[in-house]
């Protein structure tokens, strides 16, 4: 799949934002006064910034409001609702925190809405049978993993940050290796795609068109996989690095800033690969993956 920068920015940033807001809503971090304002502002900024970035790849962003109508069937529509409700639900908690109040029940509700948003985002990808690598439990697990790890790191919770960073690195490595088997498991081959497999082995004799098209650019985007082995290593190491950083450096911003930076590097590398390595079954018609 085409790793569109707008979608990578959106999923990483809004995921981190909603993960951080989840932590704040649960009262895992209790910044107060101006600190509370800044913390919630960072959470809102990331979440809203990511959502705005997601509209950049639309053919008609001016009609985006229509995306709220089909929540009965569409995960994309549900994500829109969940995001708006989560941002609205977080507002009273944020106001309370600035005044020194604990989040309480309102915070719990807002945190669940934030988690629902992350879940809806992941299901947009996990629901697609056509992309077997995404159509697996590791997709929501990774989206929750990145959002909550990032949120905990931003909340300056060293012990939880160490544990989650290591767990996420393992999950990421597992998803890379396990994902390589998904396409074969889905069973789509040129034989089943053309129905000619019953006669014999099928291969492409001549392509349907000599130049590129939307399908090749969007779904059969193989250029992005060029450095996938190196990027996999970079992603796993960068995601794990916050653990030693938090363990070795003194608590506070000195440890938190590099930890979050490495986490973000890992998140962007992993999200690039999430798209670039995802093979769509339509590629079989072109003899490609």
């Amino acid at each position: 799949m085409h790793p569109a920068p707008s979608v990578i920015l959106f999923t990483v940033l809004s995921g981190l934002g909603f993960g951080f807001l989840t932590c704040l809503n649960l009262g895992l971090a209790l910044p107060q006064g101006i600190g509370g304002f800044l913390a919630f502002a960072v959470g809102y900024g990331l979440a809203v910034g990511g959502l705005i970035a997601s509209t950049f790849h639309l053919g008609h962003p001016e009609r985006a409001i229509r995306a709220f109508t089909q929540w009965r069937t569409s995960w994309l529509s549900r994500e829109g609702w969940a995001a708006v409700l989560a941002l609205l639900g977080t507002a009273p908690v944020a106001l309370g925190a600035m005044g020194g109040a604990r989040p309480g029940l309102l915070g719990l509700v807002a945190a669940l809405l934030c988690l629902a948003t992350i879940g809806c985002t992941s299901m947009i990808y996990a629901q697609l049978k056509t992309v077997p690598r995404w159509n697996f439990w590791t997709t929501p697990a990774l989206f929750f993993g990145f959002a909550l790890t990032g949120g905990v790191l931003l909340s300056d919770l060293p012990l939880a940050g160490e544990v989650l960073s290591l767990a996420l690195a393992f999950l990421l490595a597992f998803s890379f290796v396990r994902g390589d088997r998904r396409f074969a498991e889905a069973g789509a081959t040129l034989g089943s795609a053309t129905g000619l497999g019953a006669i014999g082995s099928v291969r492409v004799f001549e392509q349907a068109h000599t130049a590129g098209n939307y399908l090749l650019r969007e779904m059969i985007h193989v250029v992005g996989r060029k450095h996938s082995r190196k990027l996999r290593m970079i992603a796993v190491v960068a995601v794990a690095l916050p653990a030693p950083i938090l363990a070795l450096l003194p608590d506070g911003l000195v440890a938190m800033i590099p930890a979050v930076l490495f986490h973000l590097i890992g998140a962007f590398a992993a999200r690039w690969l999430f798209f670039a390595e995802a093979e769509h079954v339509v590629g079989t018609y072109y003899g490609k993956r």
């Binding site: 053919g59 089909q70 009965r72 994309l76 056509t130 053309t194 099928v202 130049a211 339509v282």
Partner: protein, 245 residues
């Protein structure tokens, strides 16, 4: 609405005969031609006369080589377009309701005025039936020529999809799969018509007819007597003499 109808009155669709298709691309051209001026925005081209031409098409014809266990390989021309699935995954993922499946005849359509061009429906389709138009920013797909098949301004013989009407070998057939006596239903039953990628669970309406079994290759060519040329005259004498040595 993106909720799929439980059942549709008709199940309109196509039968594509892989035995008779010669890969002439006439259906590709006829489709592009009609849909440039029919339903919705035209199918745009980018850099059509330049070095990197690209464009939106609703129908593409591939060519495959099939190698049976024994005997020579076969070339099969393979038109690919929307299959108007009963469990169309492209419809349910649409966030705006622009994609829908018609209750009356089962045609899957895009309301281009409501399409935000997010591309998720194209991701959900296993068959590559949907292409986002680069000029208009909306999703384009086969409409089964909905603006031809019910069009009373056209002569009756033209009230079928442009690809079917134009096919010079009669490899494409249009009809109602809900009617067991329709031409498409009978063809499917008689010739063992199949679905594409059934493992994707999309329940396509369109069916493909497999290439007919070819008989075993003739032991001797029917042209053999003509090829058995007997030399005469001096060449004949030389032939006989040299044969005896």
């Amino acid at each position: 609405m993106t909720q799929l109808p439980a059942t549709t009155g008709k199940k309109l669709g196509l039968v594509v005969d892989l035995d008779t298709c010669v890969g002439c691309q006439a259906c590709v051209t006829a489709c592009k031609g009609w849909n440039d001026q029919g339903y919705g925005v035209p199918l745009s081209d980018q850099d059509p006369y330049g070095s990197d031409p690209s464009g939106t098409f609703l129908n593409r014809v591939h060519a495959y080589e099939v190698q049976p266990e024994a005997g020579p390989a076969q070339i099969v021309n393979f038109p690919r377009s929307c299959l108007h699935c009963e469990a169309a995954p492209c419809v349910t993922v649409c966030p705006t309701g622009a994609s829908y499946k018609r209750v009356e005849d089962g045609i899957v359509l895009v309301n281009e005025d409501a399409c935000i061009g997010c591309g998720l429906c194209a991701w959900a389709c296993p068959y590559g039936a949907r292409e986002l138009d680069a000029a208009a920013g909306v999703m384009k797909k086969c409409t089964l020529c909905v603006d031809r098949i019910y069009n009373e301004n056209l002569p009756e013989e033209d009230r079928e999809p442009a690809c079917v009407r134009t096919c010079p070998t009669g490899a494409r057939h249009f009809g109602d799969f809900a009617d067991p006596d329709s031409k498409v239903s009978r063809l499917t039953a008689e010739r063992g018509g199949f679905e594409l990628m059934p493992e994707m669970g999309t329940k396509p309406t369109n069916r493909y007819l497999p290439p007919r079994r070819k008989g075993p290759p003739e032991a001797a060519s029917p042209l053999a007597p003509l090829l058995d040329i007997q030399a005469t005259g001096f060449a004949g004498w030389l032939d006989r003499m040299l044969g005896k040595i």
